[in-house]
Every structure is written in C-alpha cells, then in structure tokens.
Amino acid sequence: MNKPLEIEVTYTANIARVKLRGRLDTPGVDRVEAKFTAAVVPEGRNTVVDLSEVSFIASMGLRMFIGLAKALKRNNAKLVLFAPQSQVNEIFNTVVMREIMPIVVDEAEAVRFAAT
C-alpha cells in the first residue's frame, strides 16, 4: 500500500517552499490541494515546489499545479517546480508543461526563477 501524499510548507522571505512526498494521483491531490492553495495563493507568495520525492503524477496533479500557477499569476506571483524524478519529468515533457510554468533542476535555480 502506498503512503498518502504528504505536504510540508516553509517560508523564507517572500518565498514559500513546498515539499511534496508520495504520489500526485487523485487521492493525493484531494488530500493536499486545499492546504497547498491556502498556504500560498491568498498572500500571492512566489512558490517553489520540491518534487524530488514525488514518484508519480496523474492528470489531476497537473491540474492542481496549473490551477495554482494561474491563481498565483493573478496575484503577480510565480510557481516554479524543481527536481522532478525521471518518470514525472517524462510526463511533463509529454504534456509540454514547461510552456506553462518553469520546471528547473534544483532549488537554487527555482528560487532565482521565482525572484525574477
């Protein structure tokens, strides 16, 4: 049995750092989406998301990131994803996700992207 998706949010200056662990499938998204949204959208924080421990992403996971990116953009903030595993990165490539939001290699680059 897979462990439920976990979310951890920390704040530094004007950037929210979100760490996800587990599978971003429909039950996983149901579990974390409200908390994720509440943590970053109302204050319009630039947000970097650590995907290094996300083993799988389904269409509902893509939908969550796209919805968050659009909501943050309305508040003049950015969502940047970083360190996707190869299987997740393959899905990002298929759906041309990099045309929609930045996806970078590591946290330092993500923070740079979010700040510019």
């Binding site: 893509l62 939908r63 298929t94 041309v96 929609i100």
Partner: protein, 376 residues
C-alpha cells in the same frame, strides 16, 4: 409587504423524506459488491446461510474465470460480522491485499480478491442500497449514452478500425472517433479529459460532439493543427470547471498513403509495421488543450506502408500499478505491441487482457481506451 401578482402558475417542489418515522428502525444488511471483473456493479446480500464462491455451478456465487477454483472460498455471517474462509483454493483468497490462511474477518469496506474478481464488503441500510441502485441506474444510462457516441468498428475496406474501452469508474473522460472527411481523407482522434467520472465524461461528450459534427466554424478538419488550435480556443479551462484535455488527431490520405497529425499534450500514437517488429512514435510538441490562451500546435506527417497499424490509446493503458507495487509507464507497455496476435481476440482486447493480468487486482487506476486503425 407587497405580494407578487398571481398569474395562476405554480411550481411546487416536494422534498423526498430522507428520515424514517420516529421510532422506526432502519434495517441493515451485509452486501458484497463486484468492483472488478465480470458482473461489475452486481450486489449480493449475505444472510444467515453461508455463501460459497467458486467455479462450480452449484456455488451460490459461480464465477467462470479459470483462476477461480471449483469451490474457492466461503462467506459466513457470525454474530453480525462477515468471515471469509479459503477452501484450499489454488490461487488463494485475498483480503485487503493479503492472502488469508484461516477464517478471516471481512470488515466493512474491505476488499476481497478471488483471481481477477474483486468484491467489496459494504454494510448498508436498505434505504442506502436503494439510493445506490438508483444512482447506479443513472450512471448506467450516462455510460450507455457515451458509448453510443463512439463509432462502430470497421471490418472491411482499405481502412479498418477496432477498439476497446473500459472506464475506471462507471463513466469516464476518454472518447475517440474516426470517419471519412471526403473520398480521400480519413480523420482519427482520441481525447482524454483530466480526471475521470461524470464531470470528465460530460466534457468529453461536448468535445466528441463538436468533432463528430465537424462543428468548428472556419476550420479545415483535414488540418490537425487548425483543429487543435480551434479546440484550444473553444475549451479554455476557466470556462469548463478547470478541466483540460489531451488529444491526438490525425488525417490519413488514402491516395497518397500519407498521415498528417498533431498532438495536444498527448503521448505518441504508434505505427506498428505489418511484421510487428517496428514501432514508429507519432507525436508533436503541442501543449494540453485549454490551458494556454494562445498556443502553437505543429503538424507532422508520415508515409503509411500497407499492412501497417496505427495504435492510439489513453494514458490509462500504461500508467498502471503492477502486482509488485511498481508504477509502470509507457516504456513498460510498448514491448507488448511486438507480441503476436491472439486468435479470437481483437488487438485492443489482447492488449487489455495483458495489461489486466499485469495490473494489481481491482479496477484500473484510469480509463482504458484503445483504438487500432489498420491500413490495407
């Protein structure tokens, strides 16, 4: 307060009673619901008499599957609880993924697996059961409507088509179609709406009807890039409850034996050579449909050799968890396309059965939709 003018028309809304009369006791029962395998949705009530499950026709629940033993297991109510006992079956009886040895409690909500057959134990009141049955009937109608929109297989001619679809829920977000645009050109497409269930199905039906009726004003349906650009404008996610979709769209020219195609966020379709040794991926770099206001949808084209088959499928075909708990992907699935045909089964059915045998028990995680076009 001034009363509105009475024109004589009245609408009265009656609220259905959802509470029992005071003092009345709801009757609860134990039910086994088929959630995977043959007889999906079938509901069996457990009473004081034990129920034996097996391949033997004398069993109270007889299953014809070869991986079920003649007398496989027995369910029995004891002091208001359900217990399952394995009857020395060959392939075992599993409760919540664990093979049982002795008589084992089957808690409310637990999953019983017998070969490919998956049943869920539910303790429900008769009222809840009736509501569930009403909902099931409505979903069945919705499912039949979606299926009625899919094209018939084509078994003769220079372009033939066969398909197989299994939604992961009662209705799903996948749909596909094909048909002649004129004497020379034949259009083929498959769409996969984000998520699954009724919401996704409603959007997939909208898109499917647009494509079936060629109802995109000013669009050349022989140009996949134009079609995807127009769909992207028409189905922006902000106006469709936050849903988007992927699509693969191709047009085959029978005279020139050429296929022009474009994809929007969809993994490649594959051309499979007549000897099944060569797989050619067909994909372009178009984004998900409905996400970006303006997006390019490039086209590509390929020569189609006689005897070749085009395989178009949804990601639910290969994004599956296997029996060992591993997450499989496209690269795990593709070698199956090289394997020989199975007599008596269509190619999509052969692939479904192979995927089904690989996947962990229970419904697949996502809709399984598979379309094969054969070019004579």
């Amino acid at each position: 307060m001034e009363q509105p003018e009475d024109h004589g028309d009245r609408t009265t809304i009656y609220r259905r009673e959802d509470t029992l009369p005071e003092g009345a006791q709801e009757e609860f029962g134990h039910y086994m619901v088929v959630i995977g395998g043959a007889g999906l949705g079938r509901r069996l009530r457990l009473d004081s008499e034990p129920i034996t499950i097996g391949r033997d026709p004398s069993c109270e629940l007889a299953l014809s599957s070869p991986d079920v033993s003649r007398r496989h297991c027995r369910l029995q109510l004891v002091a208001g609880e359900v217990f399952v006992t394995d009857l020395r079956s060959t392939n075992g009886t599993y409760v919540d993924g664990k093979r049982i040895e002795d008589s084992t409690l089957l808690p409310d909500g637990s999953i019983l697996e017998i070969g490919q057959q998956v049943l869920k134990h539910e303790r429900r009141s008769t009222r809840e059961i009736k509501e569930a049955q009403d909902l099931d009937r409505d979903l069945e109608k919705a499912r039949n409507y979606v299926l009625s929109l899919l094209p018939s297989p084509i078994v003769t001619g220079t372009v033939q088509a066969e398909w197989f679809i299994v939604p992961s829920a009662k209705v799903g977000g996948d749909a596909f179609g094909y048909g002649a645009l004129d004497n020379d050109r034949f259009a083929i497409y498959l769409i996969d709406v984000s998520g699954h269930g009724v919401g996704a199905a409603m959007l997939s039906v909208s898109i499917l009807n647009v494509l079936r009726q060629l109802a995109l004003p000013g669009t050349d349906f022989g140009r996949p890039g134009d079609v995807l650009t127009r769909l992207n404008q028409m189905f922006q996610m902000e106006h469709h409850n936050g849903m988007f979709f992927t699509i693969w769209y191709g047009v085959y020219n029978r005279l020139e034996h050429m296929m022009v195609y474009s994809s929007g966020g969809h993994h490649p379709a594959f051309l499979v050579s007549a000897d099944r040794k060569q797989l050619s991926p067909l994909a372009t770099k178009g984004p998900l449909i409905g996400v970006m206001d303006e997006a390019p949808f490039p086209e590509a084209q390929v020569r189609v050799q006689p005897g070749t088959s085009l395989h178009i499928f949804s990601d639910g075909v290969f994004e599956i968890g296997d029996k060992q708990g591993r997450q499989l992907g496209l690269s795990d699935f593709l070698p199956l396309l090289n394997q020989p045909a199975v007599e008596g089964r269509s190619e999509p059915q052969r692939l479904y059965q192979t995927v089904r045998n690989t996947a962990r028990p229970g419904p697949l995680d996502d809709d399984f939709s598979y379309l094969v076009i054969k070019f004579a």
